[in-house]
């Protein structure tokens, strides 16, 4: 049971700056996700908390107490790794019991039995206890690795991409199961992943990490709807958000967005228009998620001419990617627009398609800095996000 605080952590490996002033504050019993691309520094943050890596600058606190100089073994953290790290010669039961048989955390065998069975029940693997790791599937191995962390009552669970080894289907299934068990953890957890679905689903809060820095911290709704810049917006969601570059221009009481030879008259939203006032005549980017792009096969009013670049099923729905009509499909991919469509449409590559945007779902970004300016119904989204945090 612990609050974990990192203040201004710096860590370098040779000439490489792995962490560059990282500060996070993880609340007691919170499930906190570190999310970012490969090489961002996520695992290094975890290692600093565990005591495996020593920061050159900054402090690590457990419940307000500075523990920089406390050895790894005495920090009482439980780690789960991507590559399970099970003892091959021991049964599942013995693997799970092993932390409680170590010198530091030794318990008597009755207590061990009780804890192992409780953890096995939570992980739904009571029937596997007598098996050897070689007799387990990868999903089961990962369950044992987690179960082994659960038998103790550590200050914090540190999980480093525990599902990354598994194939897509199993990963999704395990993620959902983990979500179900989460309520019973009752322990502060820090979870590293590069899979946005894991971050969205599991995190009470998410910290976006990139190039050794924390880019944004917030609830999943904050990150998804109020991404602090284009980089974050592009990380969340599959297919990726559409970003269109253009110019903002005053149009009566409201504004128009001019992009690629088209004018989009922006719907009213007083709070947003106030924020946009500073950008009159300047370049802005708009971000619009694929589910907010509408298409038609006949030329409806307001729809613009595009041509189909690709149409592919992503399981229970499909994605159409289109490019402005008359352009070459190749190269200029930043003018492409992705949208969600049902499976089974008859669509030919390069055929004409007509597109419009649900502009009242757009996010606005500064054209040069790529930082978030505002979005429609921002107050409503903040309320939704805050409500979730309280619950």
């Amino acid at each position: 049971m612990s609050r974990i605080t990192l203040e201004n952590i710096h860590k370098t490996f040779g000439k490489v700056k792995a962490l560059d002033g990282v500060s996070i504050d993880v609340k007691d019993k919170e499930f906190f996700v570190l999310f970012g691309p490969a090489g961002a520094g996520k695992t290094t943050i975890l290692n600093c908390i565990a005591g495996i890596a020593m920061p050159e600058e900054g402090v690590v606190k457990f419940d307000g107490e500075i523990i920089n100089l406390v050895e790894t073994a005495k920090r009482n953290v439980a780690m789960v790794f991507e590559n399970y790290a099970l003892y091959p010669q021991m049964t599942v039961y013995d693997n799970m019991a092993s932390p409680l048989r170590s010198d530091l955390y030794r318990q008597n065998e009755d207590v061990i039995k009780e804890r192992v069975y409780a953890a096995a029940k939570m992980m739904k693997m009571e029937n596997l206890l007598e098996r050897l790791p070689s007799q387990l599937s990868n999903g089961q191995k990962q369950r044992v690795a987690m179960g082994r962390a659960l038998v103790r009552t550590p200050n914090v669970f540190l999980m480093d991409e525990p599902l990354a080894h598994l194939d897509a289907k199993l990963r999704n299934a395990m993620r959902t199961e983990l979500k179900e068990m989460q309520a019973n953890f009752g322990t502060t957890s820090i979870y590293v992943t590069h899979d946005f679905m894991e971050a969205m689903s599991l995190g009470d809060r998410i910290a976006i990490v990139n190039q050794g820095k924390i880019v944004q911290i917030g609830t999943p709704d904050d990150i998804y709807y109020l991404a602090c810049n284009e980089f974050v917006a592009q990380l969340m969601g599959d297919p990726e958000i559409n970003i269109l570059s253009g110019l903002l221009r005053k149009n009566g009481d409201n504004y128009s967005f001019l992009s690629n030879g088209s004018e989009f008259v922006l719907p009213a939203d007083a709070a947003l228009m106030n924020k946009l006032a500073a950008y009159d005549g300047k370049s802005v980017d708009i971000g619009i998620r694929p589910q907010h792009v509408m298409y038609s096969f006949s030329k409806d009013a307001g729809y613009r001419d595009y041509q189909v670049y690709s149409y592919e099923s992503i399981g229970n729905k499909s994605v159409i990617e289109a490019y402005p009509a008359g352009h070459s499909g190749r190269g200029d991919t930043h003018t492409h627009v992705r949208m969600i469509a049902p499976n089974g449409l008859t669509i030919k590559i390069d055929q004409l398609i007509y597109i419009d945007f649900k502009l009242d779902h757009t996010m606005f970004f500064d054209g040069s800095s790529k930082e978030f300016i505002g979005c429609y119904n921002e107050a409503g989204i903040r309320a939704l996000s805050a409500g979730k945090e309280e619950a």
Partner: protein
């Protein structure tokens, strides 16, 4: 360009008697399959199902135990790989490291002693198609995974093969590069209109690329059909659960009769689902089987709904969509919704099921039980 025909094809490895996992010891077991001229056929199945073995026999890299392979009208069983007029692109790129991209692409034609100017013309013709114009003078070691795979495919198609064989060409690439490359492959095949057989274990890749998909398990062909056919009309439980993500919910059920109507009931759950009338002729009171329904075909009812009240076990907000899990006995039944409402675990929803979208599977064989 030509079609491909596999007739009663068998493959047995000499040492396979020791492996209990392979049914009847055949890695490929009586496979009959046709790929029409210009068609894109995916061979899909879990690892070890025999899909790569089939491809390798087609390429001539593996002996055929029994059966015939025709490319076009020619029986190719006894032809050397080089005489089969096929292009190969495998998972590992196997490029010649001391040669530039240009030389790698040109290598096959040089080996065949094609005229120098002709080689140059063809390399320059194919380079823009595969978007490798800018890297023709680069050494392989400096290329990204996506670029290597482009070169690899360029090398396969420059020979203008009758048949293009690809084995998991994308599995080395990570998420976004993979998605982008998938689109490129689809556009390329559409452009060169080459007959293509594509091996993958990723149902998503098969669904998005192929004209038709052949699903294989334990060396046995399960079903061949268009992506829509295998998704909507699976022949058995294996296909139903292999295609689609998240997979189809499949649960053991006992059908009971109440007031002249039949209902699916589930052990350890009060879930009750009306059995569609089309099944009435093949079921009876107390009938046991498995019921399958896709996560998209489960709905959240409004306050007037007659659906069974069910407790939410998991609620996942994934941004683009939300997934709800409901415990039905030992199974976590998944529902997908784009509804913006935020639930939490423990909330009660009225669960409705699109009855017309339910499938029945035999408890023992796993085969679809079809309405008469």
């Amino acid at each position: 360009m030509a079609g491909l025909k596999l007739v009663h094809l068998y493959k047995r490895y000499e040492n396979s008697g020791k492996k209990k996992s392979i049914q009847n010891n055949y890695a490929v077991n009586d496979l009959n399959l046709e790929c029409a001229q210009g068609e894109f056929l995916a061979l899909l199945g879990p690892s070890g199902c025999g899909k790569t073995t089939t491809l390798r026999m087609t390429a001539g890299l593996e002996d055929i135990t029994k059966g015939d392979i025709y490319i076009g009208d020619t029986r190719v069983n006894d032809l050397a790989p080089k005489d089969r007029h096929i292009g190969l692109a495998f998972e590992d790129y196997a490029m010649y490291p001391p040669m530039t991209v240009y030389e790698n692409i040109a290598f096959n034609l040089r080996a065949k002693k094609v005229d120098k100017n002709e080689i140059d013309r063809r390399v320059r013709e194919i380079a823009p198609l595969m978007q490798v114009e800018d890297i023709l003078d680069t050494m392989p070691v400096k290329l990204s995974g996506g670029q290597k795979q482009r070169v690899n495919i360029a090398r396969a198609i420059i020979r203008r093969p009758e048949l293009l064989l690809m084995d998991e060409p994308l599995s080395h690439l990570d998420g976004k590069a993979r998605q982008a490359m998938r689109v490129e492959i689809k556009r390329l095949i559409n452009e060169i209109k080459c007959t293509t057989v594509y091996v993958t274990h990723d149902q998503l890749e098969a669904m998005s690329l192929a004209d038709r998909i052949a699903i294989i398990n334990f060396g046995v062909l399960q079903q061949v059909g268009t992506p829509a056919e295998v998704y909507d009309n699976p022949v058995n439980e294996f296909v139903a659960s292999f295609i689609g993500e998240p997979p189809m919910n499949i649960m053991e059920t006992k059908i009971i009769k109440k007031d002249g109507n039949f209902f699916f009931t589930f052990e350890g759950s009060d879930l009750n689902i009306h059995v569609p009338e089309r099944y009435y002729s093949v079921i009876e009171d107390g009938f046991k089987c498995k019921m399958g329904v896709r996560p998209m075909d489960l709905l959240i009812g409004d306050e007037n709904s007659k659906g069974t009240p069910e407790r939410i076990a998991t609620f996942e907000n994934l941004g683009d969509e939300r997934r709800i899990g409901i415990r039905v006995g030992n199974t976590l039944m998944m529902l997908i919704t784009e509804n913006e409402r935020r639930y939490k675990s423990g909330d009660i929803i009225r669960l409705e099921v699109r009855g017309e979208k339910t499938h029945l599977f035999d408890l023992e064989t796993g085969n679809r039980i079809r309405e008469k």
